[in-house]
């Protein structure tokens, strides 16, 4: 079954075309990396899928689990309900700084529980227990009562992931979740995302700046350049040489300086000359 289906999505900011006729399908349970240089449209694409932005004019549509969230630049009436099924993790964590970590995690319930109860901020004992379990799941059970602003970046991002766990979403979109983190926090966050995908069978789409992480954690990679999909296929086929071909001098920012020039764990050596699915 298709989790995310995007058709002919275009978006312009002024004269700049951020997304250009993007179409893609992601099946349930997939773990997909979205890579590309800065300004290639990764964040814009994710913001459209979760309904925080709407497309520019044109016949586009985005379906989440078979239901339209936006069509031809307009959110559908169901958009708010569908957002509840899509958890989003942001580059800057986007926690409400002055509130406790537990409150922030409990907000994941808002889309699921009756509106009056959510509006009064009245969460049940079970929901609180689930929130604490989610914090334990991401490895920070001890910070529940701290103000969100007192956490380190890595902890904040894990709290944000706990919020999406409480949300019990079917899809998890992560917009550069590790771009503001140090390497060890980054690895931990990626491992949590991979585990969530594996154990809870949540479809994950992770936009990444560095192709290294895509190869290590995501079986499939979609590469964007100037708002177009330029590669869509197994991450193992995405060699550094191909990146140079795709991005030219921009490829430098995608490849870690100390990265090996071949995929980390190639299941099968990519046969030379076999063209991957260029869209």
């Amino acid at each position: 079954m298709t989790a995310i289906s995007v058709r002919n999505l275009s978006k312009s900011f002024g004269k700049k075309r951020a997304l250009d006729e993007v179409s893609l399908d992601i099946k349930r349970g997939e773990m997909v990396a979205l890579i590309g240089a800065s300004g290639s449209g990764k964040s814009t694409l994710i913001r459209h899928i979760c309904g925080l932005d709407t497309a520019s004019a044109g016949h586009s549509n985005i379906e989440i689990l078979g239901k339209l969230i936006q069509e031809s630049g307009k959110l559908t009436a169901e958009a708010r309900a569908i957002r509840g099924r899509v958890g989003v993790v942001f580059q800057q964590f986007n926690l409400v700084n002055r509130l406790s970590v537990l409150s922030n995690v409990l907000f994941g319930n808002l889309g699921r529980i009756p509106a009056w109860r959510g509006t009064l901020g009245w969460f049940s004992a079970e929901e609180k227990k689930a929130a604490r379990e989610a914090l334990a799941r991401v490895g920070i059970p001890e910070v529940a009562w701290q103000r969100a602003s007192t956490l380190s970046g890595g902890q904040q991002q894990r709290a944000a992931i706990a919020r999406t766990l409480v949300q019990r979403s079917d899809i998890l979109l992560a917009d550069e979740p590790i771009a503001s983190l140090d390497p060890s926090s980054a690895r931990r966050v990626m491992e949590i995302l991979a585990a969530v995908n594996r154990d809870q069978e949540i479809t994950c789409v992770v936009s990444l700046h560095q192709v290294e992480y895509a190869r290590r954690y995501c079986p499939r990679t979609i590469a964007l350049r100037d708002g177009r999909v330029v590669f869509d296929g197994p991450s193992s086929q995405l060699t550094n040489r191909m990146l140079v071909e795709l991005y030219g001098s921009n490829s430098e920012e995608l490849i870690l300086p100390d990265a090996p020039t071949y995929p980390v764990k190639p299941k099968r050596a990519a046969p030379v000359g076999s063209a991957p699915a260029f869209a």
């Binding site: 979760c50 942001f90 409400v96 509130l99 509106a115 509006t119 944000a160």
Partner: protein, 272 residues
């Protein structure tokens, strides 16, 4: 440009800064305009009476002498009326803060569409630009003499002020946590409650405390036109030439307002 790279002179050409005539001419015009306005207002403002300050210095001395002997024999009554003034200010400020929360959000450009923002703002402008005293006169006619008219006058005027201050705080928030709340499928009201309010709460509280201080001062003046509290008693005793009593009341007011200023300043430090 001709090729000057080979024949570059060792001395740079002297830079001439052109005097900016339009600017200095503008300044001169402003000063002249101010002088004309002041001259024009001299007569109507009866500024020619300034020597009276000195020729009637006997009156002033008499005034000062009587004020320098405050009569505290009725202090219980004054204190009671001072408390009434505080109570007027308390209710006026509270009602205004409560109503300004929704109105402040509705007049913030990042929260509501323009066809809501603009009308709400215009109404709030009207509340704010009219002095409390004017509202008090109106309310005295509408609800009769007494403290309630004062509460209503403070309420309407302060709501206008709060709506502007609150909405400016809302316009300066970080939009990203609000988006995160939205992405959980929360409703619009929940976005505001959990994404916006926690961010602006310290500022809102600080504004409210500060305005409470000013409203205590305003409430004493409102008493003058019959809206209750110590102001009313003060005005009556000045009109009856009971200067020692008036002086006692002024001292009580001064002390109360200073104590209040200090306390609310300390409280605001806690919240910010």
């Amino acid at each position: 440009m001709t090729d000057t790279s080979n024949t570059a002179s060792p001395r740079p050409a002297p830079v001439e800064i052109e005097p900016n005539w339009t600017r200095s001419r503008g300044t001169t015009i402003c000063w002249i305009a101010l002088a004309v306005l002041l001259a024009w207002s001299w007569g109507p403002a009866e500024m020619s009476n300034w020597p009276h300050l000195f020729t009637d210095s006997g009156n002033m001395a008499q005034y000062a002498k009587e004020f320098s002997h405050p009569d505290f024999s009725d202090w219980r009554y004054y204190a009671q009326e001072m408390v009434v003034t505080l109570q007027i200010a308390l209710w006026g400020t509270f009602l205004a803060a409560a109503l300004a929360v929704p109105l402040g959000v509705l007049s913030a450009r990042n929260m509501a569409p323009w066809y809501v923002v603009q009308p709400v703002r215009r109404v709030m402008d009207a509340c704010r630009s009219t002095h409390e005293l004017v509202f008090a006169v109106l309310f005295v006619v509408a609800v009769g003499l007494g403290p309630f008219a004062g509460v209503m006058a403070l309420f309407v005027h302060t709501t206008g002020i709060f709506a502007k201050l609150f909405s400016e705080a809302v316009e300066a928030i970080d939009a990203r946590p609000v988006e995160a709340i939205r992405s959980t499928g929360a409703s619009r009201i929940q976005e505001v409650l959990f994404g916006v309010v926690p961010q602006v709460m310290p500022l809102w509280i600080s504004f409210t405390l500060y305005r409470f201080e000013s409203n205590v001062r305003a409430a004493t003046v409102l008493g003058v036109i019959g809206a209750g509290g110590i102001g009313q008693v003060l005005f009556e005793s000045i009109r009856g030439f009971y200067y020692p009593q008036a002086s006692a009341m002024l001292i009580i007011m001064l002390v109360t307002v200073s104590v209040l200023d200090f306390v609310s300043q300390q409280m605001r430090k806690l919240f910010l």
